[in-house]
């Protein structure tokens, strides 16, 4: 994929080759999948150069820093292009800024979940607060009008895909369902 490295903020882009998969470590296989998913998701929305710019901007490959603005833009992407719901986006942003290690993993899990359930489920990214102990984590709720009998099996296959990426991270993300109907 050809990308563009910005030499100033608002123009004068210079080309470089982005996401040369062969040069990434195999331990980061999920990360490669994430970038490829992002590329595929964006190919019908942006021109090729804009895709690379968008990915670079939102996964911080080039600028290499996660901040409130990049997290906000990523949530906007999830809402606008993948149809995610956020009942309290400010809580999700706050959680990701305090647990920066799972920022990219969260994008990855959201994309995996949308791929699995996309058009036949409502996906909601929320911060779950345990009512009994001081513990919070991100949760993607999969909600359907009529629940498929194998929904738990499908959710399990998603969890198997990303759980190893969470090793050594302080934050946590869970995909689950509460069997509630989709929110209005």
């Amino acid at each position: 994929m050809t990308g563009y490295a910005d030499i100033n903020s608002f123009g004068n882009y210079l080309p470089f080759k982005l996401f040369d998969i062969a040069s990434f470590d195999t331990a980061d296989a999920w990360r490669i999948t994430l970038y490829n998913h992002l590329g595929l998701r964006l190919q019908n929305t942006f021109t090729e150069s804009s895709q690379s710019e968008f990915i670079a901007d939102n996964t911080d490959i080039v600028r290499n820093s996660i901040n409130a603005a990049t997290v906000e833009r990523s949530l906007f992407f999830l809402q606008y292009y993948l149809g995610f719901r956020f009942t309290h986006p400010e809580k999700v942003i706050d959680y990701l800024l305090k647990h920066r290690g799972i920022y990219e993993i969260t994008l990855y899990v959201c994309i995996l979940t949308e791929e699995k359930f996309g058009s036949h489920a409502q996906l909601s990214l929320e911060v779950y607060q345990d009512p009994e102990i001081d513990d919070q984590y991100l949760t993607i709720y999969v909600r359907q009008k009529e629940y498929e009998p194998d929904i738990i099996d499908k959710i399990d296959t998603i969890c198997e895909e990303y759980e190893s990426a969470l090793d050594c991270e302080q934050g946590y993300i869970l995909v689950t369902t509460d069997f509630h109907p989709p929110l209005e």
């Binding site: 100033n8 470089f16 040369d20 990434f24 980061d28 080039v62 901040n67 800024l97 305090k98 290690g101």
Partner: protein, 244 residues
């Protein structure tokens, strides 16, 4: 200019040191030992970075993974990040004011300077990210901002999201300040949400000596504050509930 409800969601102070500054992998651990009373949680993350080289055919990239150590306060709202030739101090909300953020910057910078001699600064920046929500179904953005997207009569006025930006040069182009207003996700129905990002940064590498870096940061803060004041109207000040 103090507010009861300040819009700041993150303030960032970042230093990138020149290659003349000696660096080794033990430096983050040494920094942590000296700041752990205030930043007790230590985490590390591998950051994929892209090293770019100029070649005859254009730019070429070489992805590498670098280790970055994060040192977080007890409530995780304040952190120091140390990576190869990089020091960043971040303050999330609640932002208690420059008088509370400045000592953290000073402590982190001087701690690092006590561990390795800082021989040059390639880039440094002070960034403020404000998240602003304005109630109302049909908000006239010009009632709240003096810097906003203006749509001519020939353009459709319904839009989903927007980005407007401008850069101001300072100190004979040694420094620059990038101001950006973008749409954001409203947390309440029928609210207009925006992000205002102000990034004051050193453009000319090594044009400020390491012993003047904290003075530069003080000046950067003064300029950022003035720009913020210049961006907002009294209506917005009322929403933030001005205290002084």
């Amino acid at each position: 200019m103090k507010f009861k409800k300040p819009p700041i969601v993150e303030a960032i102070c970042e230093f990138r040191f020149s290659k003349e500054t000696q660096w080794d992998p033990t430096i983050p651990g040494s920094v942590y030992e000296k700041v752990k009373d205030q930043f007790p949680h230590k985490e590390s993350r591998l950051d994929p970075q892209v090293i770019m080289k100029t070649e005859e055919t254009g730019f070429n990239q070489n992805p590498v993974a670098s280790q970055r150590v994060l040192m977080l306060s007890g409530d995780r709202s304040s952190l120091i990040q140390v990576g190869p030739h990089l020091l960043s101090i971040n303050q999330l909300k609640p932002y208690a004011g420059w008088e509370h953020f400045r000592p953290k910057i000073k402590r982190a910078y001087e701690t690092l300077g006590g561990i390795t001699e800082i021989n040059g600064i390639d880039r440094m920046a002070l960034v403020y990210i404000d998240r602003i929500e304005i109630p109302g179904k049909r908000v006239k953005i010009e009632d709240y901002f003096k810097f906003y997207p203006k749509l001519g009569m020939e353009l459709p006025h319904a839009h989903t999201n927007f980005v407007v930006g401008v850069e101001f040069p300072y100190n004979e182009k040694r420094d620059s300040c990038r101001l950006q207003l973008t749409s954001a996700m409203a947390t309440v129905k029928d609210h207009l949400a925006v992000l205002l990002t102000t990034e004051y940064y050193l453009v000319k590498q090594k044009s400020v000596s390491p012993d003047m870096a904290l003075d530069w940061m003080e000046d950067a803060h003064t300029q950022v504050r003035a720009l913020f004041k210049g961006c907002i109207t009294e209506n917005l000040e009322d929403l933030f509930e001005r205290l002084d």
